[in-house]
Amino acid sequence: MSDKHIENDYKESLTERSKVAKWVNDRLPVISMMENVLFKHAYPKNLSYWWSFGSIAGIALMVQIISGLFLSMHYTANTEMAFDSVEHIMRDVQFGWLMRYIHAVGASMFFVALYAHMGRGMFYGSYKAPREILWWMGVVMFLLTMATAFMGYVLPWGQMSFWGATVITNLFSAFPIVGESIVTWLWGGFSVDNPTLNRFFTLHFLLPFVIVGAVLIHLVSLHTSGSNNPSGVKLKTKKDSIPFHPYFTIKDMVGFVAFFLVFGYFLFFYPNALGHPDNYIPANPMVTPPHIVPEWYFLPFYAILRAVPDKLGGVLMMFGAIAMLFALPFLDRSKITSGAYRPLFKKFFTVFIINFLILGWLGQAPAEGIYIMASRITTFIYYAYFLIVLPFLPRFEKALPEPESIDAHYKSKH
């Protein structure tokens, strides 16, 4: 919360120039709302391209919803027909291959944007006061997106679909006493079967709209607490700010172009590179594939699950890894918002990111020998970053001086 409310100058409201616009706006304030967001609301003028990933995640969500809607017109959520209906989409439906590959590659691209967006927030301290609720809404959306992606992967009813669903739903059986009944309830039977596939399709269709709702709450919170920026310094004067339009509309367009270039590269040249070939084998409840691997975006958390030799312990450590993100605003005791002015933090953050990538790599390695020890060490480092480094580092760290204002920071760079 800036002590005084900063707003860009904006004099020519459409409602003053047009009687029709005024008539509409007096009854439904869409015009003044848009004008507030696009012209009046003060955005820090020093936002870097790291700030593009929020809108990129937004457009990735739209891509998923639209391609998914068209896929659902041809897909059949029944264990006897699901696999064949996906092949029907691929071979018979006009441009069905395109819709499906957009949707499959799009899920991966969505996670690329999400991870970049979260990494930016973690480096620049975007979770700190007054943005705690903004950050928590983000973590909630991350969880919802993971749930949606997981259930979507089950729908083609291939071997990885079936066994991924079996392993992940069985995580809940680790909880004492009620575990087994929870799993039976989730399945709607005594194993992953037709009732499971049906409800996963229903929820996979529903959840993206829940995410859209969460995005709106995320944005309301963003416009209340204001955007963070690379300097971490608050908006102080009008000189610090610029309107969203045309500055960030055009900057976001650059981000979209870069994003869709990468998207297109995978979509048209390597559409199956991010999936598992075993999912082109129809589901068989009698045979487990020798090596079950989740989608790449779950791998770091899967590695944490497998690092622990105890069933309940592994499940708790995995859920705990996400819980760390919720606790982040309380764990980081530093008064400096942006990591750019924290020399030691920068080093630890780099270690954390590299460690997270190694965890991801270990998640797809076989669970044996040296890999188990390596995943234990990396799991420890993951937790140590949250529970040891962030709370205690500020006691030893000598921070660099923060810039006087956003304007001063901007001028030092240009």
Partner: protein
């Protein structure tokens, strides 16, 4: 009586009414949720598919037959004598889920081991006749079971489950 005390009395009465209304609404909401939650549990027809009969006459010593029961793979394995001896030799104190081999088979039918072939860790189907203990090895997360399908190593917490079953005759087993 003055008007003041009357009004205070009224307010207290009103609070009780309000609380009663809230409580009743709460109970009502909980009752309304119940059928929705229960609708997600196994349907009657799924619950009804609860027993199957298997002809075991063709199973050679040292081999097994797999069938589906409630959507789960069940293995009926005819064990050679050395596997039974191996299972009996194990010190129960060393087991994670201690159970005698004789408690996992029917008396007089020790060579027949009937198990739900689902790893008690996260539900994969383990590979029979493999692993360090000549029993089952789960490829997913490396759990190992012995010749009595008891957990010996790896993350799984329990032995492979034994389904309810009975011998209808020497050659037919009814599971469920």
């Amino acid at each position: 009586m003055s008007q003041k005390t009357d009004s205070v009395k009224d307010e207290n009465r009103r609070k009780i009414l309000t609380k009663t209304a809230y409580t009743t609404t709460g109970i009502g909401a909980a009752c309304a949720i119940y059928p929705f939650v229960m609708s997600m549990n196994p349907a009657e027809d799924v619950q009804a598919l609860s027993s199957v009969e298997i002809d075991i006459s063709g199973i050679e010593v040292g081999s097994a037959k797999k069938i589906m029961w409630r959507g789960k793979p069940v293995s009926v394995r005819r064990r050679p004598q050395n596997e039974i001896d191996e299972a009996n030799k194990v010190d129960l104190n060393t087991l994670r889920d201690p159970q005698k081999d004789s408690d996992r088979v029917k008396k007089g039918k020790e060579e027949w081991l009937v198990t739900i072939e689902i790893c008690t860790h996260l539900g994969c189907v383990p590979t029979p006749e493999s692993g360090e203990f000549n029993g089952w090895f789960c490829p997913c997360h490396g759990s190992q079971y012995d010749t009595s399908a008891r957990i010996r190593k790896g993350p799984a917490p329990k032995n492979l489950a034994i389904p309810p079953y009975e011998f209808l005759s020497d050659t037919v087993i009814k599971i469920g």
